[in-house]
Amino acid sequence: MAYNCVVPIKQVPDTKRITGDAMNDDGTVNRGSLPAIFNPEDLNALEMALSIKDKFGGKVTVITMGLPAAGAILRQSLYRGADEAILITDRRCAASDTLATSYILSCAVRKLDYDIVLCGRQAIDGDTAQVGPQLAEKLGIPQITYVEELLDIANGKISAKRNMGNGWQEVKCRLPVLLTVIDEANEPRVAIAKKLMKYKNARTPIEIQMQLKEDNPDASEDELAALAKGKIGTLTEKDLVIKQWDLDFLGADLEWCGRDGSPTKVHRIQSVVLTARDSKTVEPSEQSISDMIHELISDKTIS
C-alpha cells in the first residue's frame, strides 16, 4: 500500500548566525541580514516522508509559501528525492501570521491527493510551532505532534511515538493525518548526486522571469514575456519547471490571507541577555550529585 505525503516547508533566516542587525525596529526579522536556509526540522519531516516512500511507495510533494528565493529549498527537496515541489508565492501573502499561513497552506494541501502531511515541529525564526497544528485543524484531520518515531502504517492506521518532553506516548490514529516531526526523529539524508545533476536547473516560473529581467535589462515587458515563455517551454520538456501557485489559483478567501488575515500583533520586543551569576561546584560523588538533583527538583528547575 502506497502513501502520498505532503511536506510543507519553510525557508528561514539562519538564526544560528545571528548578529546585531538581525531584527528590524518593528520587531520583525531582518531577513536580509542572515543567510536563508531550509528550516532544520522541516528537513526531518521531509526525511520521514522520504523514508515512508522508500518503505511503502507513494509520492512526496513539498510545498512552501514564500518569496521567489524559496525556490532554493524546493530544489534542495528535489535533490533529496521529493517527487514534486510547489511554490506558493503571491504579494498578498505578505505579513501572514501563523493563522493566515495555515489557512493558505490548507487551501494548497486540499488541492493535493494526500494521506499524510508532515511538518517540522517549528521554524527557527518564529519558533511558534503553531502552523502544523492549525493546518490539521483547518484540514479537519487528526494530528500527532512531536513525533520522534514512526512505528507503523497498516490498514489505514498510523502509529507513532511522541516525545512529550518528560516521557513518550504511543498513539495510533486513522489516516489521513498530520504529523509534526522533531529533530531527534532522524538524520536527514543528503542530496542524491544524480538528482543534483538533474535538478540543478529546475526553476519556478517567477525565478525564470526574474533571471531574464536581470540578464536583459533593456528588454520590454513583451519581449521578456516571450523569452520567458520560450525558456519555460524548454525547461518543461525536461521536467525542470517547478510548479507555482498563487492565491487566485488556490481560490483563497483574501480576508483570511496576508495582513488582513493575521490577528497577531507584536506587543513588545525584549532583549534577553542570559548571564551567569552564582556558581556552585559539585563534587563528583554519588551523594553530592543526588543532593544537587534534589535541590533542583525542590526549586522546580527540573520536575
Binding site: 544560528k16 543528503v190 542524491i192 548526486a193 538528482k195 545533476m197 540543478k200
Partner: protein
C-alpha cells in the same frame, strides 16, 4: 557546520585553475550521453557545475556527518563475530549508508551502470575530502577501482551482474591480492584456481592483509596455471563472498582502525574469470593498483590536511614566552613547510589524475572510435602513447610523494602541539597513526620509486619536463623558470651518469633521482598556478581580533609559494645531483660490514 570542499581554498582554486572542461569532454565522449540520461551534462559548463555540486554535497557530508564520528571509529574499530561475519565500527556503517544514499559510490562508473561518470581528477578531490573526515572510510569509498577493473576487463555479463550494485552502494569490494609469501612480490601468489569438467572455476587457499576482505565482491588474483611460475601463471577472478569464503582473523593495527584488514580462506569458492587467463597480474592487477595508488595519494593528502589544520590553529592560539608560538621562527617555518608540502602534493596528484584521465580517454577513443584519417589516427596514437608513459611515471610518483608528505606533516603536527600532540586528547596522534600505512600499502615507497625512476631515466621525464617548460607563464616567474631549467640540467646530468653505471646503481639512487624530478615538476606546476587564468580571492590569515578581512589573489599567493618552493629546493636538487654523481657504492660492497651481523635470537 563544516564543508570540507568549500572551506579549502587550495582545492577551490585548483578546481577553477584546472582545465576541467577538457577532461569533461573526454569523459562524456562529446556529451553524447545527455540524450539518454537526464542527469548527464550537455556541455562542459554543465559538467563542471555537476562536479562542483556533487563535491559540495560530499564536502558537507564529510564535515558534518563523517568527521564527528572519526574519533569513535578509531576507538571502536572492526569486530570479527563468532559466526565469521565482520562488523564495521558504527561510524563506518552509518557513513557508508549515507554515502550510498548520496549516490556517490559509483563516482567513476559509466552512466549506463548508474554511475556518475566523473573523471579521476574529481574522484581524487573527493577522496581527499572524505579522508580528511576519516582516513579509514576512504578504504571503502576509495575502492571504486574494483568496479572500474570489472568495467575495463570483464565480460559484459559480469559487468551487468556487479556494476550497478556497486554504484548503488549495495555492495563493497576488496582487492584480494596479498598472501603470506606474496606481498610486494605478487608474482609468487599461490592461491589455487581450478576449473571442473564443466569449465566452472573455483578458488582454494589463503590470502592475508586484505583491506575490507569482508566485502561482498572479491577480486582475487590466483594461480590458474599450476605448472607455470611467475606472473604469467596468474589470472584474475571475481566472486561473491559466499559461505565458502571464511574470514579467519582481522588484524590489530596501528592505524586506520575503521577499515577491517582480513585474513581470508577460500574453500573451493565458485568464481568467474575476469578477461583472459594469464593476464591477471599484467595488465589487470597493474591497472587496478594504479587506480588504487591515486586513491592512496588522495587519502594521504586528506590526512595531512586534517593534521595541518590542527597545527595551524594551535600555533596561533598556544601562548608561550608571552606570545603565540607561531612567533618563534622554527615553529612558523615548520607550519609554512607543512602547508607548502601539502600544496605541492596536491598539485602533483591533481595533475597526475588529469594525465590519467587523458590516458584513459585516448585509449578508449582508439578502442571504440578510431579516426579513419591516417594522420589523425597517428596523432591520437602518439598522444595516447605519451599520456600512457606519463601516467606510468606520475602515478607512482604521486603515491610516493603524497604518502611520505603525509607522514612528514602528521609528524610535524604532533611536534607543533608538543606534549599535547602526543596525548590522545588531540587527534594529531591518530592522524600520524593513520598516515603510517600510506607509504606501505598499494606498493611501498621503495617500490613506487622503482617504477618512477624508470620513467625518470627513460626519457619520459625529459619529454614531460620539456612540455611543462614550454607552457605559458607570467613574467613574474621568469627567474624561477631559470632556476628550474638549471635544476633540470642537473637532473639529466645525474641520469646520464646513472645510465652508464647500470640498473643496480639506478635503483640505489632511485629515491634521489625521483625526488629531483618531483621537485622540478611541482616547481613548474606552482609556476603554472601563479600564471593561472582563474581569479580566486582568498582571505589572508585574519589577525585575530582585528576583524578586518584582507584578501589576496590566489595567483599572487601561489607566486610566493613557487618562489619559496623553488628557491629552497634549488640547493637540494644540486646536492642530490652531486650525491648521485659521487659514484659511492658502499651499499653494495660493504653491506655486511656496515650493517653488522644479524642479531642472534636469545
Amino acid at each position: 557546520m563544516a564543508n570540507f570542499y568549500r572551506d579549502n581554498d587550495d582545492i577551490q582554486f585548483l578546481f577553477r585553475h584546472l582545465n576541467l572542461g577538457c577532461v569533461a569532454r573526454i569523459m562524456e565522449e562529446g556529451f553524447k550521453f545527455a540524450e539518454e540520461f537526464d542527469y548527464a551534462p550537455a556541455d562542459a559548463d554543465e559538467a563542471i557545475a555537476n562536479y562542483d555540486l556533487v563535491l559540495d554535497s560530499l564536502g558537507q557530508l564529510s564535515g558534518d556527518f563523517i568527521a564527528p564520528r572519526s574519533e569513535d571509529i578509531d576507538r571502536q574499530g572492526s569486530t570479527l563475530n563468532e559466526d565469521g561475519t565482520v562488523s564495521y565500527a558504527d561510524g563506518i556503517r552509518e557513513s557508508l549508508e549515507m554515502l550510498a544514499k548520496a549516490d556517490v559510490m559509483g563516482f567513476t562508473m559509466p552512466h549506463r551502470f548508474n554511475g556518475l561518470n566523473f573523471p579521476n581528477v574529481i574522484y581524487s578531490i573527493a577522496i581527499e575530502i572524505v579522508s580528511r573526515a576519516d582516513a579509514s572510510l576512504m578504504n571503502l569509498f576509495g575502492l571504486q577501482g574494483i568496479a572500474e577493473t570489472i568495467n575495463f576487463f570483464a565480460s559484459e555479463e559480469i559487468r551487468q551482474k556487479y556494476l550497478s550494485r556497486f554504484s548503488a552502494g549495495e555492495v563493497t569490494g576488496a582487492m584480494v591480492l596479498t598472501e603470506p609469501d606474496a606481498g610486494s612480490d605478487l608474482q609468487s601468489c599461490k592461491l589455487k584456481a581450478f576449473a571442473d569438467d564443466a569449465g566452472n572455476w573455483y578458488l582454494h587457499g589463503v590470502k592475508r592483509f586484505i583491506t575490507n576482505g569482508c566485502g561482498d565482491v572479491l577480486l582475487v588474483l590466483s594461480r590458474s596455471e599450476p605448472d607455470r611460475s611467475g606472473g604469467l601463471g596468474l589470472s584474475l577472478f571475481v566472486c561473491d563472498r559466499g559461505p565458502t569464503v571464511h574470514v579467519r582473523r582481522i588484524e590489530d593495527k596501528l592505524g586506520i582502525h575503521g577499515s577491517p584488514t582480513c585474513e581470508l580462506f577460500f574453500d573451493n569458492t565458485p568464481c568467474e574469470l575476469i578477461g583472459e587467463r594469464k593476464r591477471g597480474l599484467a595488465p589487470y592487477v597493474m591497472s587496478l593498483m594504479n587506480g588504487a595508488r591515486l586513491g592512496i595519494s588522495g587519502q594521504s593528502l586528506g590526512i595531512a590536511e586534517a593534521a595541518y589544520r590542527i597545527a595551524r590553529d594551535y600555533a596561533a592560539s598556544r601562548k608561550q614566552f608571552g606570545g603565540p608560538i607561531e612567533k618563534i621562527p622554527a615553529v612558523r617555518d615548520m607550519v609554512i613547510n607543512m602547508k607548502m608540502d601539502i600544496e605541492a602534493a596536491r598539485a602533483l596528484l591533481y595533475e597526475t589524475s588529469r594525465v590519467v584521465d587523458h590516458d584513459n580517454g585516448y585509449a578508449k577513443r582508439l578502442e571504440l572510435d578510431p579516426p579513419k584519417d591516417k594522420e589523425a589516427l597517428k596523432q591520437i596514437k602518439d598522444a595516447s602513447r605519451y599520456y600512457k608513459r606519463c601516467a606510468g611515471m606520475l602515478t607512482p610518483m604521486t603515491k610516493y610523494f603524497s604518502s611520505e608528505m603525509s607522514n612528514r606533516v602528521t609528524y610535524d603536527s604532533i611536534q607543533v602541539l608538543g606534549g599535547s600532540g602526543f596525548m590522545r586528547d588531540y587527534p594529531c596522534e591518530k592522524f600520524a597513526r593513520d598516515a603510517r600505512i600510506t607509504t606501505i600499502y598499494e606498493g611501498t615507497s621503495q617500490l613506487q620509486i622503482v617504477a618512477a625512476v624508470r620513467g625518470v631515466c627513460s626519457g619520459t621525464a625529459e619529454k614531460y619536463l620539456h612540455n611543462l617548460e614550454s607552457e605559458d607563464y607570467v613574467k613574474e616567474v621568469n627567474d624561477l623558470l631559470k632556476i628550474l631549467k638549471k635544476g633540470t640540467e642537473n637532473l639529466f646530468k645525474a641520469v646520464a651518469f646513472v645510465k652508464e653505471k647500470g640498473v643496480d646503481y639506478m635503483d640505489l639512487y632511485g629515491r634521489d633521482l625521483v625526488d629531483m624530478a618531483i621537485c622540478l615538476i611541482c616547481g613548474y606546476l606552482f609556476c603554472g598556478q601563479a600564471s593561472s587564468k582563474a581569479d580566486y580571492e582568498i582571505a589572508v590569515a585574519d589577525k585575530r581580533g582585528n576583524g578586518q578581512k584582507e584578501t589576496i589573489d590566489m595567483k599572487k599567493r601561489k607566486e610566493m609559494i613557487a618562489r619559496r618552493y623553488i628557491t629552497k629546493n634549488a640547493a637540494l636538487i644540486k646536492a642530490l645531483s652531486e650525491k648521485v654523481l659521487s659514484g659511492e657504492r658502499s651499499t653494495f660492497e660493504q653491506y655486511q660490514t656496515l650493517a653488522g651481523p644479524v642479531p642472534e635470537e636469545k
